[in-house]
């Protein structure tokens, strides 16, 4: 409608910002039980209808981020098909068998397995696939479930900056602000190790009482039992043995990682068809299609805000706060990304930071790299603070509890508040030493 009117720039900026804020609030509140994709797409649709972003700009924004969309697709399909092959169940049983009846060693193995899965399949696979597997495992073994569940949930994020593919947030940011693999590893590998070590150490201390026992290995399923189709399982292992180095090689030569993920998923899909282990419908059901609508909506909404110059101002503010030093860049980048991710969730925050970081191109290479790495670090690890999504969710849980409704989820928050600031600070400090 506003196509026909000429509005002063201030009004368009105000209107775009209001729609963006309403979209973010809608994603958290989910009015009329709408899902997040519907809310984000409605925000984007409103901006288009009001002429606050042109259809050409919106289309260009979406096409520019094809790598992100394709990576989400490949990553989800790869994890779902590996799950169909029984790979994660098999790894879970092996982790328990190698623990030698000790609850402590099983706890450590869950951390190691979570690290491995996050590194290769992204944090989604650890949080969504490994967690229920570990829950079934510890239920069978009559061990206390919560420490193991928390270990899976936290390590999913703590180990999500070992490689660019360890978290789709990394792909969102790296698609706009590329970093060489050597720079990525130089800045984030050691902080990853530090963060994982703190996570493991603090959890061992917190749950030392519950983990003091042992379990009866006879209660475990045999590794063979969990493999539904032996040939498909072996084929899956072979494909993944190729995909893992291909990820590293692709990241090293700046080749789109989404192509590797999708190619790996297609190979697994072909195998699943050949051994009749999964149909296209089953594979399609394992993918959360609404995520694409959500990300597309967010890209368009943030693009409209970017046009107003607000995100550039936010970027300039971050640069000003960092005082142009690499230490400032790392600390401000980490704190800003981590706080934002807990306020509005990590995907919207990563998209917002992408836009804000556009204004730091003129900064020195050290500051620029510091900001990019710290943004990934903060957006990846930040969610461990509230774990259940955002502060809005925590507040909602607190209100429910105040009304004497017994809620879970707050236990996550209690642990997150203790361990996450420590991990964020130690990781950021290590990163600064490496710049």
């Amino acid at each position: 409608m506003l196509w026909f009117f000429h509005l002063p720039q201030l009004w368009t900026a105000l209107l775009s910002s209001l729609i963006a804020l309403a979209t973010l609030a809608g994603i958290m509140i989910r009015p009329f039980r709408w899902n997040e994709a519907r809310v984000a797409m409605s925000g984007a649709g409103l901006l288009l209808v009001l002429g606050l972003i042109s259809p050409k700009d919106a289309l260009f924004t979406l096409l520019r981020d094809w790598n992100t969309f394709l990576f989400f697709l490949g990553m989800m399909a790869l994890s779902a098909l590996a799950e169909t092959a029984g790979l994660f169940d098999w790894l879970g049983v092996q982790a328990a068998r190698l623990a030698g009846e000790s609850a402590r060693r099983l706890f450590l193995n869950v951390f190691l397995l979570g690290t491995f899965i996050s590194m290769l399949f992204s944090n989604d696979a650890t949080a969504l696939i490994l967690t229920p597997i570990v829950y079934v495992l510890v239920t069978k073994l009559r061990l206390p479930a919560l420490p193991y569940l928390f270990a899976c949930t936290f390590i999913a994020d703590s180990a999500s900056f070992l490689l660019p593919v360890s978290n789709p947030i990394n792909i969102i940011i790296l698609s706009h602000h590329p970093l060489k693999l050597s720079a990525f590893l130089r800045l984030l590998l050691l902080p990853s190790v530090v963060v994982i070590a703190i996570n493991v150490g603090v959890f061992f201390f917190l749950y030392r009482r519950q983990l003091a026992g042992s379990f009866d290995v006879e209660r475990l399923s045999s590794p063979r039992e969990v493999i539904k189709h032996k040939a498909f399982f072996r084929y899956t292992c072979c494909v993944l043995a190729v995909v893992a180095p291909a990820y590293v090689a692709a990241a090293a030569v700046q080749f789109p990682l989404s192509v590797v993920a999708v190619a790996g998923a297609l190979l697994l899909l072909a195998g699943a068809f050949y051994w009749r282990s999964a149909s296209l419908r089953q594979a399609g059901k394992a993918i959360s299609w609404s995520i694409f609508g959500f990300i597309a909506g967010m890209f368009i909404v943030v693009r409209a805000v970017h046009e107003t110059g607000l995100t550039t101002k936010f970027g300039n503010l971050l640069l000003h706060l960092s005082r142009g030093s690499s230490f400032g860049a790392v600390m401000v980048g980490t704190a800003g990304a981590a706080l934002g991710t807990n306020l509005i969730n990590n995907v919207p925050m990563a998209v917002l930071m992408n836009s804000a970081l556009a204004s730091i191109q003129s900064a020195s290479p050290g500051v620029r790299q510091g900001f990019i790495a710290a943004t990934m670090f903060g957006c990846d690890l930040g969610p461990n603070l509230t774990t259940v999504g955002s502060l809005a969710t925590v507040l909602w849980l607190l209100i429910l509890r105040h009304r004497n409704v017994d809620v879970s989820g707050l236990d996550y928050f209690k642990v997150g508040v203790v361990v996450t600031p420590l991990m964020l600070f130690a990781g950021a400090f290590t990163m600064w030493l490496l710049i």
Binding site: E36, A103, D124, A127, L128, T131, P132, Y135, V136, T139, K140, R142, L143, P144, A145, L146, L149, T153, R209, Q210, L211, A212, G213, S288, S290, I291, F294, N345, V347, P383, T387, V388, G389, T393, D406, V407, S408, G409, D411, Y412
Partner: protein
């Protein structure tokens, strides 16, 4: 006398021994209760929502025109594991007290225990101070877990709190 015993998967022997003390009571009805904690499932669903996925276990029933979704294989596996574990725990306890009435519930263990005690008209509740995951016996405020603490505070009948023997930790400071 109606005695309700609360099982946690680690206390069958301890409860069996305690019940021997009441063998002289006539008539004696013993109930064995196992509650599957639903909090881990709720926690997993919260994490799923954070990753923009639909929860595994629907918190709200679907609106009338919507059919109830078929549980996913993983959801079925979780339910089966919980059910099998609960049945195994109850069966194990029956070896210490044959003829007891067994009860399986789902929910918050502490709340289910006191509610079942009231519904079942228990005259006595037997509960252990906490699940025994380790052999070392401890005394002190942390030796009573949150479930036992809640049951002691909210029980509709007398409660027998079973603590492990810990004489070797005495004398304590006077």
């Amino acid at each position: 006398m109606r005695i309700l015993c609360c099982l946690d998967g680690t206390n069958a022997e301890q409860i069996g021994k305690a019940l021997e003390m009441f063998s002289a009571f006539e008539p004696l009805t013993v109930g064995m209760l196992h509650v599957t904690d639903t909090r881990p499932r709720e926690d997993m669903d919260l994490v799923r929502e954070r990753f923009w996925r639909h929860p595994l276990h629907a918190r709200h029933p679907p609106a009338p025109p919507e059919p109830t979704p078929r549980p996913s294989p993983r959801e079925e596996e979780i339910s089966e594991a919980e059910k099998a574990s609960a049945e195994e725990i109850l069966k194990e306890c029956l070896s210490y007290c044959g003829g007891a009435e067994t009860m399986e519930r789902e929910g918050r263990p502490e709340r289910e225990i006191v509610n079942v005690a009231a519904e079942w008209r228990a005259d006595l509740l037997i509960v252990c101070s906490q699940a025994r995951y380790r052999m070392k016996e401890e005394i002190g405020p942390k030796s009573v877990g949150h479930v036992a603490r809640f049951v002691v505070d909210h029980a509709p009948c007398p409660v027998l709190l079973l603590r492990p023997m810990a004489r070797q930790q005495f004398p304590i400071n006077r």
